[in-house]
């Protein structure tokens, strides 16, 4: 399920970042610009998901170290 509020807020923030940062990044190398837009794109795409209830890096890490987690929760 999408959380529309989060998605719209992120869209606005991404737009603001582009508006304010573009004049500074314009003269940077192509690679810098690509990294800037790729990271923004990743952030924007992620905002379309219901992140709190989605498995992610921390869930994988918790699963990876499950025996340790059990030891700590004894």
């Amino acid at each position: 399920m999408m959380r529309w509020g989060a998605f719209f807020a992120t869209t606005v923030i991404v737009a603001l970042i582009i508006i304010f940062q573009w004049p500074k990044i314009k003269q940077n190398s192509k690679k810098d610009k690509l990294a800037f837009f790729m990271l923004l794109l990743i952030g924007w795409v992620l905002s379309m998901f219901d992140l709190p209830n989605m498995a992610g890096p921390t869930t994988w890490i918790e699963a990876l170290f499950k025996p340790f987690g059990k030891f700590m929760e004894q």
Partner: protein, 366 residues
Amino acid sequence: MEKGKISSLQMAIMIYPTIVATAILGVPAITAKYAKNDLWLSPVLASFIGFVTVYIVHQLHKLFPNQTVIQFSEQIMGKVGGKMLGFLFLFFYIPNIGQLIRSYGEFIVDSFLIKTPISLVMGSMVLLCAFVVNGGIEVLGRVAELFFPILIIGLIILITLLSPDFEFKNIFPMFEGGIMPSIKGAIVPSAWFTEFFLLIFLLPFLADQEKGMKYGMMSVFAVMMTLVVVNLSVYFVLGETTSSKVYPVMNAVRYISLADFFDNLESVTMALWILGAFVKISVFYYVAALGTAQWLNLSDYRPVIWPLGILFVEFSFWSFPSAMETSRYDIIAFPIYGFLMQTVIPLFLLVIAVVRKRLGKKSKLS
């Protein structure tokens, strides 16, 4: 990439709040859960990891004086291996910052700004930190220098005001269950001590590099002493109930009441704590931005600062449906994950680098 320089004293002043800020928030309760009344010993045991980590960092720094771990792991492991390792570090730090910001937000929303949406609390902090990181390492050093004395003096005053409520008998009998409880209690704080690995990102920018190790070690010692004093003060006041609190320091501070004038110092405590958290998040933010830019071979880290800010806020929600899940991560995964990424892997890197250097010398001689 980074043209600024800081002094080794500034480095120590930056790293101290980076470790202490969150370590005095929930960690005393977690330590008390395992170590009970011997909780004062746990930070001492845990600091061993800190000293070892600083030593490893210093040795790596001596081999590669002008590079961060993202850069020199390519020289140690080769191009592909180095990039993979660099990815592992970023994959460690970026979600870690998310979790850190979430802990910050949960604390503020839970204790004070009850009706404010947590995303606003976290977002405004990220915004502020992004401005600091944008200023570069010199600005970061000065921000830390500005807030460090306030933090220390505030902490000393709070503990002094709290001292009339101390029940020294709370910590007796010592070592009733042997030393094992304190050792288990040391596991979670030791994760905070592994964060001294962040120094590897700061050492290349020191103006006085030869003092880096000395100040790093001093910083570990200062953190250890602070945690011992805080743990003791909290336990003197709260006793056995310490382990049941979420933010035991805040509960302890409520006991302060001097001449009906110094009352309700929770807000002062929170203000002090925010200063620490601000430095902490900024240092982590800087490391993540610098690391990402170096990993992608960019010419500057400034283009990635703002996009990373969005990612941090997203990671602060990702797989954390509740505050409980967020703090549980600190117990069941972070200690081992942090130890692996920030102490064990650097040790491996060091061993490989030293062995390769020796072999290289031998082949040159023959």
